[in-house]
Amino acid sequence: MTPLALWTAFQTIVLREIRRFTRIWPQTLLPPAVTMTLYFIIFGNLIGSRIGDMGGFDYMQFIVPGLIMMSVITSSYANVVSSFFSMKFQRSIEELLVSPVPNWTILAGYVVGGMSRGLIIGLIVTLLSLAFTQLAIHNLPMVIITVFLTSALFSLGGFINAMLATKFDDISIVPTFVLTPLTYLGGVFYSIDLLPEFWQNVSLANPILYMVNGFRYGILGVSDVNPFVSLGMILVFIVLLSAIALRMLARGKGIRH
């Protein structure tokens, strides 16, 4: 395929993904907006006002970057895992497999599709948060790079999950039993300084901690970890998961007999 044809194929996949999640917006765009508003009201306003400062900021300001990141992570992951798995389930993935689109373009299309949903949700949650608190951006490039890379990383994770899944249960196991606990324990609601030393060290093994803190650094200028280490870790994981996903596509894992 010529570069122009590849670009057209890539655009087609991305636009189809965007068309899918905007068509079913009550399932994809509305729920995180409602959930995050409840978080802002309950944890930020009601409970947060009794907690006082955290990391030098009031509690609402402290949790906003974590909650934005949590929405981006879950939405990016959910978009790719559900879209790709339902294509496998309905066998419409065959439309792509018989076409000349190379595997890396398929992967890039799905990842950018997942990122689109993740970033739109991130923007919606950010706008909602402005109704509850003020956000002064400390380092805009850091905010943008962290949110884009995190969104890409979890879209890749969703893609691999969908490749491996053989039934609908398989696409909810990882988000429920891996992603949610890691996100909640990844410093969204607290600074790991509050934890005993042992649990601080355990927390450092949680990759989501780095993403939340990298993003928090970009907005508030405070972080439990070095923000550049956070970026480095996200990049390493992106390379690793991309290699795994491409290998799975080449072997036709779960999509070719």
Partner: protein, 316 residues
């Protein structure tokens, strides 16, 4: 000669050890209308699945218009359109979106994709349904949608796996006409079907596959010449209580009370009618018992099964 499809020593062994294809060879010439026939589980869909990249091969070579699927997969796929046996589109998407999206996968810009989608949706009688979600279509419409989707990038080779399964006879015939038209315009067509009258009506060359092996690969004409006996069913004006003695012909009264006569190759029907006339049997209508290809197909598959059985006994 240019081949649209060349298959050499193609093998497929599934993970459970099942040997679906045992090193088949097949050539389909450019412009041909080719039928790949065989009983269920013979290896037809596996063969076409490998050609269209839906199944990984275990060994052998496949070339589409000279492009090897191992080394020039993208170029091979550009020449190929595939209509699978099962519905495989997103049931929630609209008809027009399904077809234009497929064009996009082939790198066709949206404006051109829309024109091509319109052309084929109109030709296949689906233009009025362009904004309908695919799940709302009837079975026949869904089949036509898959044909439109496979043609939107104007492939040189069209593969159809059971394209008319579950389609009523009127629609089937209109689909035949459409396929004949695109074949006349230069598209090479390979189809698998269980309706042997379909293969007999449309195809010029035929391969029969059974137990993962090609047991016959020839022209339809040559195949039909091998038919030594043809059975006819004759409805008589007066019902017959017993089969008459027709000199030179084997006959019987079938379950419906009609006269069934076997006519050997070279005997001719005039002799049969002369004999009926002599015995004062008036015939009101006449039809073939089964289509000719079907008789041959059943016989070949039975012979192949018998040979396989005796080979097994020989080695036991």
């Amino acid at each position: 000669m240019t081949y649209a499809l060349e298959i050499e020593e193609l093998e497929k062994r599934y993970g459970d050890g099942f040997f679906a294809l045992k090193g088949i060879d097949l050539q389909v010439a450019e412009g041909d209308f080719f039928a790949l026939l065989g009983p269920n589980g013979a290896g037809k869909s596996t063969t076409l699945g490998i050609v269209s990249s839906l199944v990984n091969k275990s060994g052998g070579k496949v070339r589409v218009f000279g492009k090897d699927i191992d080394t020039e997969l993208s170029d091979a796929k550009l020449n190929l359109g595939v209509v699978p046996q099962e519905f495989n589109f997103n049931q929630f998407e609209k008809v027009f979106d399904i077809v234009t999206t497929q064009a996009g996968y082939y790198g066709i810009p949206l404006k051109k994709a829309r024109l091509s989608a319109e052309k084929y949706l109109k030709k296949l009688g689906l233009w009025d349904k362009r904004n309908t979600p695919a799940r709302m279509l009837s079975g026949g419409m869904k089949r036509r949608l898959m044909i439109a989707r496979a043609l939107v990038h104007e492939p040189r080779l069209l593969i159809l796996d059971e394209p008319t399964a579950g389609v009523d006879i009127e629609l089937r015939r209109s689909m035949w006409q459409f396929l004949e038209e695109i074949n006349r315009q230069g598209t090479t067509i390979i189809l698998t079907t269980h309706y042997l009258e379909e293969a007999e009506a449309l195809c010029r060359n035929i391969a029969i596959i059974d137990h993962g092996e090609i047991i016959r690969h020839t022209s339809k004409r040559e195949l039909l010449q091998q038919l030594s006996v043809e059975a006819f069913i004759l409805d008589t004006e007066k019902s017959l209580s017993a089969a008459p003695e027709l000199e030179g012909f084997k006959c019987l009264i079938n379950g419906d009370g009609a006269l069934e006569v076997e006519v050997a190759k070279g005997q001719g029907l005039n002799a049969l009618f002369k004999e009926l006339e002599r015995q004062n049997i008036k015939v009101s209508s006449m039809r073939t018992k089964a289509n000719r290809l079907e008789e041959l197909f059943v016989r070949m598959v039975e012979e192949n099964a018998a040979e396989a059985e005796s080979a097994k006994e020989g080695t036991a």
